[in-house]
Symmetry: D2
Subunit: 386 residues, 4 copies
């Protein structure tokens, strides 16, 4: 692997979600595991462990109210001592009883204001934590035709978002995530990139789209959306994960590694990678049955390895083949990069930077898992509860 590729990889940073270290599951069952953190501080300690083993994950995203604390300065210091920055602040307008029929889109102005106020609180927290991005994933929607007025809800959403956007700071951004379905099963108020784009476009320059790789209809060409949003200057961030069916929230790259490769290729092609890019890389996953810390290590390694492969694409040769109408040749150039085994080179490079060549093995050997299993007795394990 060339020094040029390695230099680019050296700039890569992937934000971890605090909630990935807590328990998660399905509507049928949430399995718990020994060592699961009880507090945001323990989540940060776990995230720091991922970063120590990989050098890839220097920040952790917060979810409010799950990670609410009294003193955010102290939390920022705590994270800093663990080598981490506090990253994106994620709002939550889907777990309060008031939001049963909507939040930012609700017909009742009081409910909308409550949801807007929650975002104001989040912005206050961002100022304290130094976070750049306010991420809004809106669970609003309906389960039955007729239950809500699709059009009116969209208009109210625009109003609510405008009020929130007005409050963010000059160096802050609002990123609006879209999702095909779930928890709403008939219509979702921000179901696709077009809706997210239309809404953030109406807000202003610091409003951008968040693309969660698991939030699309079956068969959707996600790398096309990546290319399109980069072209329109509106790709703010990624929520990485993978899926076979719906929003499965599996480890990124686990379900369709070639898709991850194609996505990362379009990110690079479109100027979305590197220190000057405005695109933030985050994970958003559930570790329902696998161990959480090694699950996150595996995830950031997957993103790094696939980024390396995407960086290996011989772009001048690819362009020549494309221009010549050489279908098999062009495809072959892409596949050559994908099939290259970058793992040995990355291991060596990792070691040259003082990291373990095999972070999964190093974590397993570290004793950390046994330590937290022993230490974290009692208390309530973190999950998706408020």
């Amino acid at each position: 692997m060339s020094p040029f590729v390695l230099a680019q990889l050296a700039t890569q940073a992937i934000e971890l979600p605090s909630w990935a270290f807590g328990n998660s599951g399905t509507r049928f069952k949430v399995f718990s595991t020994p060592g699961t953190p009880r507090t945001i501080q323990e989540k940060i300690a776990d995230a720091a462990t991922v970063h120590q083993h990989t050098g890839l994950a220097p920040s952790v995203a917060l979810h409010i109210p799950w990670d609410k604390v009294g003193d955010y300065d102290a939390l920022r210091d705590f994270a800093g001592e663990h080598g981490l920055a506090l990253g994106t602040v994620n709002s939550n307008t889907f777990q309060d009883d008031a939001y049963k029929f909507g939040s930012l889109t609700h017909t009742d102005a009081a409910v909308r204001q409550k949801a807007i106020d929650h975002h104001f609180d989040c912005i206050d927290i961002m100022h304290a934590t130094g976070s750049q991005d306010l991420k809004i994933w809106l669970a609003d929607g309906t389960n039955y035709p007729g239950q809500g007025d699709i059009r009116g809800r969209q208009d109210r959403l625009a109003d609510s978002l405008a009020k929130i956007y007005d409050r963010i700071g000059e160096n802050q951004r609002l990123v609006l995530e879209y999702k095909f379905f779930e928890p709403a099963f008939y219509h979702t108020d921000v179901p696709d990139w077009g809706t997210s784009y239309a809404q953030v476009n109406a807000l202003g320059e610091r409003a951008l789209v968040c693309l969660d790789t698991g939030h699309h209809a079956p068969g959707t060409n996600i790398e096309f959306i990546v290319a399109q949003l980069l072209r329109l200057g509106k790709l703010g961030s990624f929520d990485f994960n993978s899926r076979f069916y719906a929003d499965d929230d599996l480890i990124v790259g686990a379900a369709d590694p070639f898709q991850l490769f194609r996505i990362l290729y379009e990110v690079i092609r479109g100027g979305g990678f590197g220190p000057d890019s405005p695109v933030a890389f985050m994970l958003d996953q559930c570790h329902n049955v696998e161990d959480k810390i090694p699950g996150q290590i595996r995830s950031v390694l997957n993103v790094q390895e696939m980024t390396a492969r995407a960086l290996l694409v011989d772009r001048p040769a690819l362009t020549r083949a494309q221009d010549a109408g050489d279908v098999l040749g062009a495809n072959g150039i892409l596949m050559d990069a994908f099939y290259t085994d970058v793992r040995p080179d990355l291991a060596a490079w990792r070691e040259s930077r003082g990291l373990a060549g095999d972070p999964m093995a190093a974590y397993a050997a570290s004793g950390y898992q046994a330590q937290i299993a022993a230490d974290r007795a009692g208390g309530t394990q973190a999950g998706w509860g408020a």
Copy 2:
């Protein structure tokens, strides 16, 4: 509507699931509502209310262990006093920590035996309740390629099912439900009708397939499966609900009424309807945001209305058009029945039998909802917890 159609409708019975009266939701949130039952007795009372208003739902399905009681004879009597029979017993092998990596398919023989023993318990309960059907929905599966040995799991499933089948009584049946995905996100051990059919076929005559209308891949022609299973003599029961996306568990007929019509047409066409048919009609739904009792009333009415439309199809004329290759004519005959507004006739007929013409309005006027909201203070509302 002809007396012949009404006579056939008079035989229709749709079993209600006890859990439909408890709270349900998504992994993101379960909303609670006033009046939600705390006990199986309160669930039965609610189910009885549905039957009183519709005359369509004379039995209620149990879910073990959610509906476990000390004295099933007493429960049977309680139900009888409310005009209900106890119906299908549903097993649960997805909520015990032991089943994290499988139950009837687990690599560990002790875990498999635990799951088999649970079904033996269910069979014991069936003898006490007078239930005919043991329904097995198997949540077993894996989230990641390689996590499990797909082939070995299938073999172990066959062994476990054989042990359970050996235990059921001569007048009892084992019905095996299939599901495309969820809670497993890579592979599911009984994902499609073919697998369920192959497994029950190996067991014997009293092993049959349960078709849940929400458990298929996008685009699947469900009425084809109905026709095929009836042809093979292996359609045991329906779990009715509807969906736009995945296993949404919406009210039956809500998402695609025409699909429900086509399903019921094939049921009738294939001999699956009527007192001599072995096919059991059940609901399996979630009322996440709508009221539960009227949700169930609406559901059984939807099935009844659509059955009426399906019975209206002029089958001799349809056969003539089909044989003549008259595509538009044949389709038109089907659509004529579908577009017929059967509601006024059904209301009149309902009244002639001493029922309310409009069961939804009658329930709303009955005061039952306010009564249970007042009565059922304190305690723990029923949900999907064990």
Copy 3:
């Protein structure tokens, strides 16, 4: 049905596609039928027959080059004598060998110019025919990852569209249709409404989106897109048809009548229906196995009947139920309209206007089919050939 509803229905017009009267099929086989037109004049005669029986289809869309003639003034007169106007002009950039790797997006400027020139020809034809809309369905795309540069193709598309847009007249419009996939199987250059919206938004006010109801990913909520595009002022036209799987191009309303109802409800809700609306209603279907003329009659009747049902929705009551969070009540109001059998009232109204009450039966009795089967001997039956 109230006079108010009937008055609204009286304004409805649904444009027929000339190509619906020719043969169509799949890549496996195109079946031919006696009486299939050989010329655009015979197609117009067939379209006129549909209009004579329904009063719903006063114009016919042309496809260039399939419907190319030497004298468009004469064609306009011919149509006028048959009671029809010439409508939308559809361009074709997918059947010339030059377009194997793209047309408006091609890397070769000469190929792009050829495709742009074709649209200039179409605009010239529009001036001669009095057509308002230039509809562009772009088949461009690639079959293999790497085959094309997704991002560059999008930029070239924008350039090409701008050149075409500059040429349309002040009273003309450019409508850009999107399609999920086919004939391209990896990426399509205009795959979704978001792309079409972003592209036409960059062009100007007279550039709009065309929504083909069969061009979406599985599970897509189409009525949401209708509501959104109306809200954004960018819904230009519909291509109506229906599908169970992909772009099946079945008769509108045949696969999912309830979906058609929901779409039409949102059209009406959003101001997309009526003489002042800018939204054009068209059919775009294939009659592969059914007779073509009655297929078109059935189609326009389906749209009319479903529009009538959508107009029956008690919108004030619906709003009240929605505002009250009455999920079942709101849904019930919608379903009441859907389940109303509007056919007898529409038949009576049709007769009051001098039309046959049952246009399908009237056509069958008219002898037209036998006449054209006898008359149209020899020649080459129209299909999708250039």
Copy 4:
């Protein structure tokens, strides 16, 4: 790569479809290319070229009537001289006008007999060519609900298949292919593996299922079906190709290489690979925009490379991780094999056997493409026409 793996690879044979060398396309356009064969002999010459460069494709499948000749002994000799055997005979019951409304399922006994007789002809050809397998892909189905009697068609299918099965020789097999949809758009008579399994199960031991990797609903876990059919002893053959959307018929491994890996892993796991296995490997693809001969070379190399990766899986270690519930460990073992770059070892091994290390480059350098483009002037290029 170990000698053991290479020894297993040495037994691999992938049958080529004669029609892959002819033109194919979509309903919108079939592009032609210089050098396309005009006769079955030219197709065989092209197939032989693929085999010469890869050593992987020693036989070619015939499609009747596309490849009908007067003298099959001569054809067999011709193929033999080119180093090829004649393989599977594919029947065609979808292109005769008589089959518009069905073939083996038709309501008219005369049409059914015509289709049965066609299969008898195919069996006669098999005796002459020495073919083992009669492959039936049944395009039968309907486009509209009500058009056909789903149940009756299934019964007639069973009768027709029984008559065909009775005719095949003792060393011959009947393989029945299933397909989700297309060319029928409402229901297909053999839409899923369950139907194919139920039908062939009723026939006898020499009736088996053909699995085409592009013939499933979105999201279907194909490797599960592979495992299940091998377990049931009913997997007869594969039609390899790949898809992003529907039956795209792209180059095998092009759309989702990881899926191909998982499929081949289950083939090996279940005993479906190797000289003693009854499972036949075939390609069934369309080269709509790419060159056909190198497209086939690329395809067989993809299968070989992925088979090599699947053979590399450390199965004892995998079993240990599975038994231990080590989700990440088990998945990691599978991924280690997938991410191994087997290409250099395979190139070296190929050279050791007297083949070109890089068959794609060798073909490009061979001059064959220019030669056939020059030689094959005039005549009618082969396609899907009868």
